[in-house]
Amino acid sequence: MQESSGRSTFIAWLQAGPLALVFLAFFVLPLVFVVIVSFWDYNDYQMLPMLSGRGYTDSFEGCLAELPGLCTIARTYLQTLKFCAIVWAATLVIGFTVAYFLAFEVKSKEWQIILSLICTIPFWTSNVIRMIAWIPLLGRNGLVNSFLQAIGAIDEPLDWLLYSQFSVILALVHLFTFFMVVPIFNSMIRIDRSLIEAAYDAGATGWQTLWNVIVPLCKPGIVIGSIFVITIVMGDFVTVGVMGGQQIASAGKIIQTRLDALQFPAAAANAVILLGVTFLIIAALTKLVDIRKEL
C-alpha cells in the first residue's frame, strides 16, 4: 500500500518462500525425475541411466499383437475407468443429496455446523481402518450374510460381498463421497435464495427449480468434486488392494507391482501414462468450469 511494490513483492516472496520450496523439492522436482527415469533402461535389480523406451514398450507389451483383443494394460485401464464411472455416479448422487439437505433443509446455523462436522470427522480418521471396518459386515460369516441366511433369502453365504469388485466400489464410495459433499455444499450455500423464490413465484415446481436453477448454479462445485473423486479413484492402489484382496488390477496397482519388482523406469513410465490419462479427464472437466472463479 504505502510501501513500494518492489519491497511488497519481496516480502510476499519471503512469506510464500517456504511453501514454494517444499513444493519444489517434494513435488515439482520429483515429477521431473519421474518423467526422466521413465525413459531410462533397467535390469533385474537396478535402473540404468541410458535413454530407452523399454519402460513404455514393456508396459504396452502385446497391445498390437493381441488386436483386436485387449492387452493387459488396456484391460486394466478399462477396469479402472469402470470403477471411476460407477464411483463418480454414486458419490455425485449421494453427495448432492447430502449437500442439498445441509444447505437448504437445515435452517439453523448451529445445526448446519454440527451436521457438517459429523460428515467431516470420518475424513480425519484412517482410511485403512474404514476399509477393514467392512470385514465384520461383508465377510463370509459377516452380518449381511448371517442376516440373509437367517431370513432364508440365501442358502450359501455370498462370496462376492468381500474381496471383490463390489467391495472395492463400496469402500471407494464410503471413503470419498466427502470430496463431493464439500464443494457442492460450498456452491449451494452461495446461491442467492431470492432466485429460488423467484422460480417458485414464476410457477416452477420443486423438480423444475432443482433442475433448472439449483443444478446449473452448483455446476462449479460438481466439477470440482468430480475432479477430486476421479483423480483419487484413478490413482488408487490401497483401496483396490485391501478391499480386492490384492487380486484386482488397477492403474495404480500396476505401478505398485513394478515398484515391488524394483523396476523403477517401468513404474515411472506407468506413472507418466496414468498422469496423462488423468490430465486428459481433468482437462475435459475444466472445459466445463473455471476453477479460479470458485475460490
Partner: protein
Amino acid sequence: MIEGRSKAFWFLAIFFGLYVLFLYGPMIAIYILSFQGPQGGLTFPMNGVSLTWFAKLWQGNGIIDIGESFTRSLGLGVTVMVLTVVISVSAGMAFRRRFAGQALLFYVAIASLIVPSLITSLGIALEFRLLDDYIINHFGDWGMQDIADNWETAMGLYTSGLGAHLTWTLPFGLLIMFAIFNRFDPRLEEAARDLGATPWQTFRHVVLPIIAPSVVGIGLFGFTLSWDELARSSQAIGPVNTLPLDLQGLTTTVTQPDIYALGTVISVVSFTVILIAVLTIRVLQRRQAAQGSDAGKGMV
C-alpha cells in the same frame, strides 16, 4: 421449502441419517469387535468381552513393533502439524498481496492435491535414490570419500517422509487460509497501522487473534492427514514404517481381532485430537465473542 417441514424434508433427513449410518456403522462395528473375548473371531457374535487383543497388541506379535511405529507416527504427525500451520499462515499472508509467480504457485499447490499420491511418492523415492547414488559415487571427487563409503540413504522419516506428508497437508492449509482471508476485514489492520503498530505487532495482536480458530483447524488437518497418511508414505518413508503402513501390512494376514484393536487405538488418537481441536476452536470463538468490541453496532 416454502411450506416448512415438507415431505422433501423428511425424505432428505432420512437419506442423511442413512448416510451417517453408512459412514459410522462399520467403524463402530470394529470398535466393538476389538473387545472380543480370547476365543472370539473377526465377526459377530461377540464371544465374551475382554482386553485380550489390546494386550496382544501391546506385547507385540513378533512381526512388527507397534509401540515404535506409534511413537514415530506421533512425532511425525506433530512435526507436520506445526510446519503446516507455520508455512500455510505465512503463505496465506503472502497471497493477500500481488506477487510474481502467484498464479503458478497456486496451481502447483492444487496440482499437489490432485496428482495421484502414489506418483508423488514414487517421484520422491526416485529423487532420494538418485541423491544417494550421487553421494556414493561422486563425493569421493570432492574429497569426502569417507562420507561416500559410509553412506546408506538420505531417505528417512524426517526427510523424504516429512516432505511427502507436507505435499498433502499444505494445499489444505493454503485453501483454509484463502477461505479465512476472503472474509477478513483489512480495515482492522489499517486501524492498527494508523495507531502506530509495526507490521509484526499488527500480525501478532490483531490478525492472529482473529484468525486463531481457523489456524487451529489447519493444525487439525495437518496432524490427522499425516497420522493416517498411507499412499504418499508408501515409497518415500525410508527404512522404517509408520503406523498406517503397519496396519496395511496386517490386512494381508488378517485372521484375528488384534487388527481391530490396532484400528481402535489409532482411532482413539484421531478422535482425541479432533475433540481437542473442536473444543479449542469453541473456546477461542467464545473468547472473541466475549471480548469483541460492540463499537459501531448501535451507533449508526
